[in-house]
């Protein structure tokens, strides 16, 4: 009997055809895949967006954590789902981009993903100990011994950013990886274990002399134009390419989601991003919301792939 009903439903939906898509989301829950365990940056932003997205789309949004393999397992799960808009996910970008460039098989190809939107962008800055005599990139690189940087894993986005950007600046460094979290890596600068670290500005904020605990100071932001008052930017020192390094919160779905469904989710995410709940959370948590639509996000993803391909040799192992 159940089989019969299922066949009936399948037949009905076939008959309905395009009409079924036109009234997306008509029924059921939208599964929002988070490729990490509860509590991290990816999890938090999805859970903050979910209620507002629910309201915008008029359909229940269920965040689901599928962690593992540096975000690849979550990506695979989305990739395997039906392209009906009822399964979307947040992607570890540019972490997955970097993995792909180094030739690691992640079980799916990023260029097949249906990109829907970009919710937030974090930008990087170069920080040193507040008591350090170093006040600029020249000071840092002038020493006889290559300056030491701290990072989590060698394939982490921050580590890749550190190695490529310092290479662009023509500065030889030692990147000490293996810290168990980015807070750990920043504390290594405070305790004097290493000389400097490149981390998202929002993460560094709580340790800065201006408005934070006063343990670290910024000597460069990897941005186009001034991002933090009084701190030179990548363009200021004549290396605009450094502004390419960002940490993105990108939303996508399985290959082949119909354009009208994409447009609806995109609009829902845009509205959610402008909602009072999300904006006030972002202000409090130091998250920089930066909405991009589907077309813009796709273009950015292609751009990123080309950019990291260029520095393929630096992206791999540190030693």
């Amino acid at each position: 009997m159940r089989k019969l009903i299922a066949t009936g439903i399948a037949a009905a939906s076939l008959l309905a055809g395009g009409a079924a898509y036109a009234d997306f989301p008509n029924d059921g829950n939208i599964t929002f895949v988070i490729p990490y365990s509860p509590g991290g940056g990816f999890d938090t932003i999805v859970r903050q967006f979910a209620p507002a997205l629910e309201e915008a789309l008029g359909s229940t949004v269920v965040p689901e954590n599928i962690s593992g393999a540096g975000g690849a397992r979550g990506g695979q799960a989305v990739h395997r789902a039906d392209p009906d808009g009822y399964t979307i996910g947040i992607y570890n970008i540019p972490g997955l981009t970097v993995n792909e460039v180094t030739g690691r098989d992640q079980g799916f190809a990023l260029n097949e993903v249906t990109w829907i939107a970009n919710l937030a962008v974090a930008r990087y800055a170069l920080a040193v100990n507040a008591n350090s005599a170093v006040n600029s990139v020249e000071d840092l690189c002038a020493s006889d011994v290559p300056p030491k940087f701290s990072d989590t894993g060698a394939t982490s986005t921050a580590s890749v950013t550190t190695r490529i950007s310092m290479a662009i600046l023509g500065c030889e460094i030692v990147d000490v990886t293996g810290y168990s979290g980015s807070s750990d890596a920043m504390v290594a600068v405070i305790s004097g274990e290493v000389d400097a670290t490149i981390k998202p500005i929002s993460s560094l904020a709580k340790y800065l002399t201006d408005g934070g605990s006063g343990d670290m100071k910024l000597i460069l932001t990897l941005t186009e134009g001034e991002a933090v008052p009084g701190v030179p930017s990548a363009t200021d020192i004549g290396y605009p390419a450094l502004a390419k390094f960002t940490l993105n919160r990108v939303i996508g779905g399985p290959p082949g989601i119909p354009a009208d469904v994409v447009a609806k989710i995109e609009e829902g995410l845009r509205m959610a991003g402008e909602s009072e709940a999300v904006t006030s959370w972002a202000d409090g948590a130091g998250v920089q919301l930066g909405f991009m639509g589907a077309a813009e996000t796709s273009a950015m993803m292609d751009d990123l792939a080309t950019f990291y391909q260029e520095y393929k040799d630096l992206v791999g192992a540190s030693e």
Partner: protein, 506 residues
């Protein structure tokens, strides 16, 4: 700040609603603690969505209640079933289970409950003393200290093997092999993954330990049959146990140096990020067993072997809050999830949290303490019923424990592969029991291996290759080097002393 805030927090907890959250947390923590495979980490992970709508302070009470109660809950299964309810209770099985088999489960549970409660209290006061210097404490532990701490932990393996040195070393090597599985933190390559992407992130701790301890013990019990307690004279055994609980409570106070040392070790290890309760409990056990006059009776049902790890286990909760709140670095798996709850409630972990979120932090400290004591009281009240577990036919216990622990492993991350890993580790664990290889040695190496490897790599880079000079220039490192040397030499020193004594007698 300080005592005023603490008193205020104690008064606040008595306000109706808050107390309800605390009690709910304690009951949840006890339940999750007792069931092997489930633990504080799972309970907190499941609670994250629930705390969404709560007032931050109530969320602290709920989380604190869970964190404070799981370790005692876990000791109950460790004592009664030789199956640690949570990983840190593994050390409690050494002497707790032999006691239960001798019909003295009441004594062990009474001691465990009291040691947990007292450990929690002592840990709290140590934490209060630490708070003003929290910054210095955290900053003085760098890669060098991490490396030395892991070496100290690995050195302590020598104690746990109790004469089975070769077997202990084999097990430790297997543990290291498991620890090194997955992505290499400094080259980015993957090791020993055999093309299975599940292994990229390494072998997860909870499924591995659940398999090694819970599942393997259940296989052993199922094959052996009967019930846990050997004493079949039910009537006399019951009588002994009733007096046993009180004796257990008294034993803790009689062995107060053991309690004190356990609590201090727990607080200090808890404060070091990344080591956690398993190492704290084990170091406390091994240092007690090593320095005791009756060291040869450890492992055969010495009550001090229950007091030491349980005191450390509850004291570490207070300690692990130091790096968590001061720097946002979790001191244990539970605090890692707890950190997520803090962030959800708009509290940015960092040095500023002690200034701006005093109310919530002291609320949490009170909740941790109250739940450690509360869980013990609840546990003692039900201890007579709990002891009957050892009388139940294993044909009932085994399916229940296996089902619950496999479900618990699945619930944590929702991955079927975790369940398969648990079963595989269960078989490995059973083979180790069968052929008499120490499982705890494997676990210590497994837990410490990764930290040891990456801190060695870091120290080498940071010191520009001059590792030893660098270490000797750091005071905390020097202390740790001395402690490691003492650990290594103690057994030989004791043997020399014994020889000396026997000559004098002659």
């Amino acid at each position: 700040m300080g005592l005023d805030a603490l008193l205020e927090a104690f008064l606040a907890v008595l306000n109706g609603g808050s107390l309800a959250y605390l009690v709910a947390g304690v009951l949840l923590g006890l339940t999750f603690g007792v069931i092997p495979g489930l633990g504080g980490t799972t309970a907190l992970a499941l609670l994250i969505p629930v705390t969404y709508t709560l007032d931050p302070l109530d969320a602290m009470y709920l989380a604190g209640g869970v964190m404070g109660a799981t370790s005692f809950g876990g000791s109950i299964s460790a004592i009664l079933l030789n199956t640690p309810g949570t990983a840190p209770n593994a050390a409690t099985t050494f002497d707790g289970y032999p006691l239960a088999r001798q019909g003295k489960a009441g004594l062990a549970i009474g001691a465990s409950a009291t040691a947990s409660a007292m450990g929690g209290l002592i840990g709290l006061f140590t934490l209060l003393l630490f708070i003003p210097i929290a910054r210095e404490v955290v900053l003085s532990f760098g890669s060098s200290e991490f490396l030395l701490l892991t070496i100290l932990g690995l050195a302590a393996i020598a104690v746990s093997v109790r004469g089975k040195l070769l077997r202990g070393l084999v097990a430790a090597c297997v543990g290291l092999l498991l620890a090194f599985t997955g992505a290499n933190q400094f080259t980015g390559d993957t090791r020993f993954t055999g093309g299975i992407d599940y292994l990229w992130d390494g072998i997860p701790l909870v499924p591995a330990l659940t398999g090694l301890f819970a599942i393997s013990q259940m296989i052993e019990l199922a094959l052996k049959g009967g019930s846990v307690a050997e004493d079949t004279d039910r009537q006399s055994a019951l009588k002994m146990k009733i007096s046993g609980v009180g004796e257990g409570i008294v034993a803790v106070f009689r062995h107060w140096p053991v309690l004190l040392r356990g609590s201090v070790i727990g607080t200090v290890i808890g404060a070091v990020p990344g080591l956690g309760g398993t190492v704290a409990a084990f170091l406390s056990y091994s240092s007690t067993a090593q320095t005791a006059k009756d060291s040869h009776t450890f492992g055969t049902g010495n009550i001090k072997g229950v007091i030491a790890p349980e005191a450390a286990n509850n004291a570490k909760d207070g300690g692990s809050l130091i790096p968590t709140v001061a720097f946002g670095i979790p001191g244990s798996a539970e605090t890692a999830i707890f950190l997520a709850i803090l962030v959800l409630h708009g509290m940015e972990p960092g040095p500023a949290i002690l200034l701006y979120n005093e109310r919530e932090i002291y609320g949490l400290i009170v909740a941790l303490t109250a739940s450690a004591v509360g869980a013990s009281v609840v546990g003692l009240m039900f201890s007579r019923v709990l002891i009957l577990i050892t009388r139940i036919d294993v044909n009932i216990i085994v399916p229940v424990v296996v089902t619950l622990s496999l479900t618990g492993v699945y619930v944590l991350e929702g991955r079927m592969a975790d369940v398969l890993l648990t079963v595989a580790m269960g078989v490995l664990g059973y083979l180790m029991i069968r052929f008499d290889y120490p499982r705890l040695t494997l676990v210590i190496a497994f837990v410490l291996g990764e930290t040891a490897e990456r801190s060695l790599h870091q120290v080498r880079l940071i010191s520009d290759g001059h590792v030893l000079e660098y270490m000797l220039s750091r005071p905390v490192s020097v202390i740790l080097i001395i402690a490691t040397l003492v650990t290594f030499m103690l057994p030989s020193l004791r043997r020399l002393r014994d020889i000396g004594r026997s000559r004098q007698i002659r």
